[in-house]
């Protein structure tokens, strides 16, 4: 009798406690929740680059993918682009691909930007912001590192230094 009461009380308290813990946890993490987290399979997408070639993320299985989201209007994006370009030239034969996705800008602006900085890696425009939505991008620049199995190994927002870019490339080199 006494034992049963203890069991019932424990059970009720555990259920109530779990409900409270869940509410608190989801409320506190709702702002920082990342749509695509480290360890997830990077969501597939297909975009056409400025030269008219189609790039599908899943076709790069077996290679590391340095996936960068940016805009011509964002100063840190402008700063890190040459570093990415340099490292791209170093690592493209070592199995690391750079895919750079501009968020909804006119072709003219993107082309002029790429020309001015002499960018060699494929650049594509997410005209409908679909890829941006799927990846839950908020602040630019944002970089996802995808390994050879298509898994996200790192998510980084903010300006990159050349050393950091190199370190990232090294991290996803197959």
């Amino acid at each position: 009798m006494k034992k049963r009461r203890l069991v019932i009380r424990t059970l009720i308290l555990v259920i109530l406690g779990a409900a409270v813990a869940y509410s608190l946890y989801s409320n506190l993490t709702k702002d920082s929740k990342q749509k695509v987290a480290v360890g997830d399979t990077a969501p597939d997408f297909a975009l056409v680059d400025m030269q008219g070639n189609k790039h599908r993320l899943s076709e790069y299985r077996g290679q590391g993918v340095f996936l960068n989201f940016w805009g011509t209007w964002c100063p840190p994006c402008k700063k890190e682009m040459p570093y990415i370009n340099n490292q791209y030239l170093q690592y493209k034969d070592k199995g690391v691909q750079v895919l750079s996705v501009d968020i909804q800008e006119p072709e003219l602006a993107v082309n002029q930007f790429a020309e001015r900085l002499g960018l060699k890696f494929p650049i594509m425009i997410d005209t409908e912001k679909e890829v941006m939505n799927v990846y839950g991008i908020d602040l630019l620049p944002a970089t996802f590192l995808v390994d050879k199995n298509g898994k996200v190994v790192k998510y980084y927002t903010g300006e990159l230094t050349e050393n950091k870019v190199k370190e990232f490339m090294e991290q996803i080199k197959p």
Partner: protein
């Protein structure tokens, strides 16, 4: 911790004050007391207060205290008012670390540092609400179970000590046999359920009103569960969606399943010439908006394309979204909530500055400008640089703040047959700079075209029905407890006398009136209100 056996043979749980069956006073302290009985929870054992061994029991006992529950509510109320002193974070349009100090000085800074700028989303506020919820569950469980058991176990014949310490009590010395039958009849007429044992009567009605508070609490708990459901992904959606006229956008949080095309945004004002009745009011207010409307088409994606690929869409329906007339589909509602207009095209003509002669117009789509505009006869214009939201950056270089064409600026290169080298001109709104010396030609501004962008709110609330259900049950509980009373009348033979005692959980006046009608046409003495008598004696009347 032994159970207590009463002299009537009923076994009561430890801690019981009044025997569940016969009502004999079991508690030693109470026994010698001559005052009226405390009938709360039928004198049953609130077990939480009698077992206090393990940590589980201690937690349980803490939450089972009504005192604790009331304090929790008071604290929550007081802290809730704190959040209303200054505007909450969601209503300000500056970063909170700047806003509060700038607007309210040291007090604002303190307010922000204490975290009161996001009070209703803070962990400790949620914890307070959660503790009220826990207290509600445990308090109710801890009382409703013993109360139910006690009311179920009660016998007709009651102990003398129970009867004469009821608030309403009276003794008839020489009762007449036939009176009992009359009372019984009257009680039946007043819709009492009458039980009889050895010539003793127990008449009872409205017992279910005792469950009112607990039904009410169940409603509250369902309400809280509904509020909690909002945290589960997919249950609650509240997102903004901006769609330009003529464009199609994916509806957020639908898993890229639904698309919305905005055909047209319509803004209508009241016309003081047409609406004569309101002429004065309209004159006073300037212009009054009559209607905000977006004509939209809802599409469903039928292809299994990847994000970034062009989806294949199937038209579902056309709708005119107006304020308070949202587009509803599959649990989602799309409300008209805002609008803005955006620059769409800018037009210039290439002209000779001196003669004013024009050599053709250039219409620039600000969302997708072309690189070169060929005007024929050897005249052409090339856009060297496009800044949709122009500003000079920190280094004094022209740059763009965002991708939106809020303040477009261009660097044009103008090729004309009479010049060997093209002329360069920087053109922004109300501003022209000729970086390489005086030009012969200019890009003369002609005009702009704008288009509207509708602002929608996409909302889905699957928890709403749970919250409504909770509210309904809550109200049922309130009515159950408020509009019915639990009344009991005992008519019992003791020592050749007839003892009448009565109890109700509220509205004693009504009970006394009812007893008077029940005892009509009998010689039985109408029982007195002992509490009232006591009070009168105290006051010395």
């Amino acid at each position: 911790m032994k159970d207590v056996k009463c002299e009537c043979g009923h076994v009561n749980p430890h801690g019981t004050v009044l025997c569940e069956a016969c009502g004999k006073v079991l508690d030693e302290q109470e026994k010698n007391n001559k005052e009226l009985l405390d009938m709360r929870y039928e004198g049953s054992a609130r077990r939480s207060q009698t077992y206090n061994k393990t940590i589980i029991d201690k937690i349980w006992n803490f939450f089972s205290s009504v005192k604790v529950g009331i304090w929790l509510i008071v604290i929550t109320l007081l802290t809730s008012t704190l959040g209303t002193i200054l505007p909450q974070e969601m209503y300000i349009n500056l970063p909170p670390d700047v806003y509060y100090e700038q607007e309210y000085g040291w007090f604002g800074k303190l307010y922000y540092q204490l975290g009161l700028h996001d009070l209703y989303g803070s962990w400790w506020y949620l914890l307070l609400i959660a503790m009220i919820g826990i207290s509600l569950v445990i308090c109710s469980l801890d009382r409703v179970v013993p109360l139910y058991k006690a009311l179920k176990a009660q016998r007709v014949t009651r102990h003398e000590g129970f009867l004469n310490r009821q608030r309403i009590f009276g003794v008839t010395e020489h009762p007449e046999e036939k009176d009992l039958a009359v009372i019984k009849n009257h009680l039946h007429e007043r819709r009492y359920r009458v039980r009889e044992e050895n010539g003793d009567l127990l008449a009872e009605k409205g017992r279910f009103s005792r469950w009112g508070p607990y039904v009410n609490h169940v409603g509250l708990i369902i309400f809280l569960i509904g509020a909690m459901l909002r945290f589960i992904p997919g249950f609650y959606v509240n997102e903004d969606l901006w769609v330009k006229e003529g464009e199609t956008a994916v509806v957020p949080e639908t898993g890229e399943k639904y698309y919305l095309k905005n055909n047209q945004f319509i803004l209508q004002h009241y016309d003081k010439n047409k609406d004569k009745t309101f002429e004065k009011a309209i004159e006073q207010a300037g212009s009054v908006v009559k209607n905000y409307q977006s004509n939209v088409v809802l599409y469903e994606r039928v292809s299994k394309n990847l994000p970034g690929e062009k989806p294949e869409l199937k038209k579902l329906k056309e709708y005119k979204i107006k304020v308070n007339h949202p587009l509803d589909f599959n649990g989602y509602s799309v409300f008209q909530s805002s609008f803005r207009s955006e620059l769409k095209t800018m037009s210039f003509v290439l002209a000779n500055k001196k003669t004013g002669e024009s050599f053709g117009a250039v219409n620039i789509d600000l969302e997708d400008p072309k690189a070169t505009y060929n005007l024929g006869h050897g005249y052409s214009v090339k856009i060297l640089n496009y800044f949709p939201d122009f500003e000079f950056d920190k280094n004094g270089e022209p740059s763009t703040k965002s991708r939106l064409p809020n303040n477009p600026a261009f660097v044009f290169s103008m090729t004309t047959p009479d010049k060997s080298k093209p002329e360069t001109s920087f053109v922004a709104i109300k501003q022209t700079i000729e970086p390489f010396g005086e030009n012969t030609y200019k890009m003369a501004f002609q005009g702009i075209e704008t288009k509207n962008v509708s602002g929608f709110t996409v909302r889905k609330d699957s928890s709403l029905w749970v919250i409504i259900l909770g509210g309904i049950i809550f109200m049922i509980g309130v009515m159950q407890g408020a509009y019915w009373n639990h009344r009991r009348i005992w008519v019992q033979n003791k020592n050749g006398q007839v003892w009448i005692a009565a109890h109700t959980n509220k509205n004693w006046y009504g009970l006394k009136r009812e007893i008077e009608t029940v005892l009509l046409d009998t010689k039985l003495v109408i029982p007195e209100d002992q509490q009232q008598k006591e009070n009168l004696e105290k006051e010395g009347v």
